[in-house]
Each structure stands twice: as structure tokens, then as C-alpha cells.
Amino acid sequence: MNTKVTDVEAPAPSQVRKVRQHVNQNEGLIFEHSLPGKRGMELPPLDVPAVDPVKELGAAFTRGSVEGFPEVSEIEVIRHFTRLSTWNYAIDLGMYPLGSCTMKYNPRVNEYVARLDGLATEHPEQPVELSQGCLRILYDLKQCLLEITGMDAATLQPAAGAQGELAGLLMIRAYHESRGDARRTVLIPDSAHGTNPASVVIAGYEVKNIKSNDRGQIDTDHLREFCTPDVAALMLTNPSTLGVFEERIAEISDILHERGALLYMDGANMNALAGVTRPGDFGVDVMHLNLHKTFSTPHGGGGPGAGPVMVKKILEPFLPAPVVMRKDNGTYALDHNRPQSVGRVRAFVGNFGVLLRALAYTLAYGPGIRQVTEDAVLNANYIRKNLEGLFDLPYDLPSMHEVVFSDAKQKAHGVNTMDIAKRLIDYGFHPYTTAFPLIVPGAMMIEPTESESREELDMFIDAMKSIAAEAESNPELVKTAPHSTRVGRLDEVAAARKPILRWKP
């Protein structure tokens, strides 16, 4: 146990609703519990004659046992991973204010339906006639996503947002090439998420960075100048990573389209838009969605996700094949006959289990999905109102579903955004997003989502107020946080200099 807990000025006990204890189990690695002869799982007996592997495969193709593989019992596996789980924070425990991650409630019915016999059990290569249920789920989801985004066609293949970005860029490329007008660059604002420029490069384009103006938005004069004939597209996040809607979106879209370029929207911040406005209406030609953000599919410690890509009609011919379709006779099928398709971005039809969960989420809300967006924006603005003044607000513009402060005021006492974030852990909250977007030095990016009750928001606000006070009166306490976790700040320098990336006996 990290015993450096000092005189923490916590809220009065009557106000503390949440207690978080890290169980000090000193749990080792599973390999450290392993001993020969222990087993966690038995197989039913073999009902056919046993063969001799060496005779069947040849000695050259046969291995002995897997060196170092664990040998433990079922209860040890249950205890080991249960203990490990208690060292994690989770949405089920409380708010994650991470910006642009949209850490909303992961509905449990979604887990239940994903595991149904007849859904979890289906093989992607099985006959289409025997997969009508799966295909209908995909089709129904697609129709819902098209309605929400105001677009014309979609692919559900990409496994995550980054892969969706790549698929979208490949379609943009195919579009220009089909018109004999191959272009070379993609414009990306300096506030963009790192996957954007990385995806551009993998699509075979060059990145051209475009600076945001003093309102953290696209400077349209700049855009006119930058949008030369070799520009294929602008990749925009809207609302931006500052949580602010691009007020000149119509002008931006016109500038691009006049010059034959396309508008790509990174849909990571869709939680500010669903049910209130539609990207297809404000000039977007192609966009991806992050189902593990806006559509409640679980983050699971880093994935899986899904990154469907929605397009306007002009890009439909280029969608990755196969495309889920409904035939005139009402049956569902996979259309492989797509001669202009950019190809596959992954094997099989997509992360079906994730797509299924997103549909369950959408069905739960129906048209009421607008309330989600309204509550998300309400919550972010409530936090903003209550912390303005205490923390520096670098861009005084209307916030949508997230608000970005900076550590400028606390820096005066030697306390930076990372320190504040680590101290937040002692109050039982996961840190907000530190040091992003890059255009805000010392950024503190906070997105509560609609899943937070007023109670939880008030506790978060109280915690942040308390830390602001500590930054002035006791900066050391903040700079050496967290104090209440199983391990303190870990030595990342040593981890990078001499990487130890696996257990060895």
C-alpha cells in the first residue's frame, strides 16, 4: 500500500458518497502461481482413436509442450483476474471525464444479446440463407446510422475509428482517381487527433497541417489559400477537439467543394450532435463513427471498437466490399459485385459483436436519442460554469459536450495538468485528458457524457475545487499524487530505456 497519504483536505464525511479502496493483494503474475500438475479446465474424453502426433505430422513439425505455460486451477484463475480487476477504475464505478472518449454507460442488455446462442455462434463463411438474422442486424444498424448522420451509404467493416479513417481516405482517393484527377495532399488542423495524420500517410497521401485561428477553429481565409488543386480533402473533427462547433462549417464545405476537394469528418465527437444536427446536412461527404464512443459499446481496457464509415452517394461505388444489402424480395445478402470498391480493410464482414451492441443501444433510445446529446451538452456546460474562474479557459467559446481548460493558473505554483490529473485519482475519479489537444499548452480536456448524474458532477466539481486550492496551499501534495493507489507514479523512463515486455522464469 502506498502509505504516503497525508493530511488530505477531503470533503466532509457526510458528503463523501464514494469510497474507493484499492485492495492490497500483492497479487503476482499468473506464471508465479504456476506449478506442474495443476489444471483449470478439462476436456471431454476423446471419442475417436487417438493418433500419434509424431507419426501424423512428422518429428520436424511436432513440438513438445509449451515452455513456461501456466499450470493453475480454476479458482486461482478466478481469484487472480478478480483481484486484478479491483486495481482498475471503470465507468461502472464512477465518472471518467476523458475528453473525446465519450465514456458513457455500457448497457448490460447489450452484453446479454451479444452472447445469445444463434448470434455469438455464427460463422462468417456460413451460407447467406442461414445468416439472415445476422445480416438483418447489420442492415438495421446501417439504416439507423444513416438516419442519424444524414448520409447515403455505409460500410460496417472497419474495426475501429482509425481503420474507418483509412477506409474513408481510400474512398476519397478512389473517387479522385476515377475522375482522372489524382490529388496528393490532405489538410489536417493542428488540433486533430494523432490517428488522422497517421491514417493519411497509410492511405498514400501527404499531410498538410493547417493552423487553427484564435478561436480554435478553421481559418477560412487560410483554407482558401491552402486548398490548392492538389488537395484531396480536409479532415475535420466537428465539434473540434476543443468541444466547439465549427461555426463556419457551411463556408468551409463550400470552399472545398468549389475546388473539387471533399470534406471528411472525424465523428469522434458525435455525442454532441446526434438527434440535433446531421453531418450530411452540413456538407460532410464522408465520415466515420466510433461505436465505442458515441454508441456505448464497451471500451474493455482498450478495445474492441468499430469504425463504420458513412458516405454520400458520390462515394458509394468505392465502399469496401462486401456491402450489406436488402434484396427486393426482402431477404438480406452480401454484395460482392462492387467493381470500383477500394477492397477489403479486414477479413470478414466486421466486428459483428460490437455492431450488434450499437444497434441494441440505438433501439433503446429510438428518436429519443436527442435527449442523450442534450444531457451531454448540459453536463459539460454545468462543469464549465462551476470551474470557470478557478481554471484558465483558453478559448472563451460555447462548449458543446466537452470543455477544455488549461493549467495556466496552477502553473504559477509549479503544478501542471498531469499533476492535477493524478491528484484527481485520490478523489476517486479517473483523470481527464491531459496534454491534448496540442494547440492548448497544459490542456485539461473534460467530457462528462450524458451518463453522469448531478450528484456525480457535483462531486467532480468539488474535487477539482479542492485540488485548485491545494495547488496554491500545498503544491507538493498535488505534484506527488496519487497517494491512495496500489502503486505510485511509475518510472516510465526506465520502462522505455530497458524495456521488459514479457515475463521470464
Binding site: V493, A495, A496, R497
Partner: protein, 130 residues
């Protein structure tokens, strides 16, 4: 602080000339900006370098910096210390943490670079910007 007989670039590299062999490294300012160095990548002997072109990287935990060559030439040696002790760059950036030695194609290129006084002034300006 900054050795008088060295020359400096705007990207915070230094070069020390010995006849037609130049020894190149990054400055104290650069290592401070980077933080704890965890890894260094430089080209092999025999590679050519050109002014303004990146020839390698210096990494900390949270950032990567390209290193730009101040001169044209051919790499003759790389510092064997840095593979196992990249932190030398933080401890002794101007001497034992040299990165590469280069046989200069045109020794006159060096005179176009800042001297120690000019570089110190440049760094002082940069510090004010923060």
C-alpha cells in the same frame, strides 16, 4: 555554458570542427526540452548527410525529436555509448554524448552557423517565449 569553439544551429544541434571532421551533437537546451532521453537513432557509418535534412531521432518517453544535420558530408563514426546509455545526452550533451562524426564535404558551411554568443542570445529569446 555553450563551448566557445562550437557552432550551433536554430534546431539546437552543435558541431565541433577538427580539420575536416565535424563532431555533431544536440545542445543542453535541446536535452532540457526533451526530458529524460530513452533512445537514440543515428545512421550507420558511410551514410551521407545534408544540411537541414534529418539524420536521426532522439526520443524521450513522451516525445521524439528529429536531428538535423548542420553540414553535408559522410558519417565516419557513431557514438557507441548511446545505445546502452542514452541518458548521457541529459548528463553531458556537449562532450561525451556526441552523436556522429562527419567528414565534411565543404568545411566552409560551418561558418554560416551561429557562434556561441549568438546561440546563447537565441536561446535566451526562446526561453522568454515560454
Amino acid at each position: 555554458m555553450y563551448p566557445a569553439n562550437y557552432r550551433y544551429t536554430k534546431d539546437h544541434e552543435w558541431i565541433q570542427l577538427d580539420g575536416s571532421i565535424g563532431t555533431i551533437g544536440i545542445t543542453d537546451y535541446a536535452q532540457q526540452e526533451l526530458g529524460d532521453v530513452v533512445f537514440v537513432e543515428v545512421p550507420k557509418p558511410g551514410a551521407t548527410v545534408k544540411p537541414g535534412q534529418s539524420f536521426g531521432t532522439v526520443e524521450s518517453v513522451k516525445a521524439v525529436s528529429e536531428i538535423f544535420s548542420p553540414v553535408s558530408g559522410e558519417v565516419t563514426e557513431t557514438n557507441p555509448l548511446l545505445a546502452d546509455a542514452p541518458e548521457t545526452i541529459n548528463k553531458d550533451p556537449h562532450k561525451s554524448a556526441w552523436l556522429i562524426k562527419v567528414k565534411l564535404a565543404d568545411p566552409k558551411e560551418v561558418s554560416a552557423l551561429m557562434d556561441a554568443t549568438a546561440y546563447e542570445a537565441y536561446v535566451a529569446e526562446k526561453a522568454k517565449e515560454h
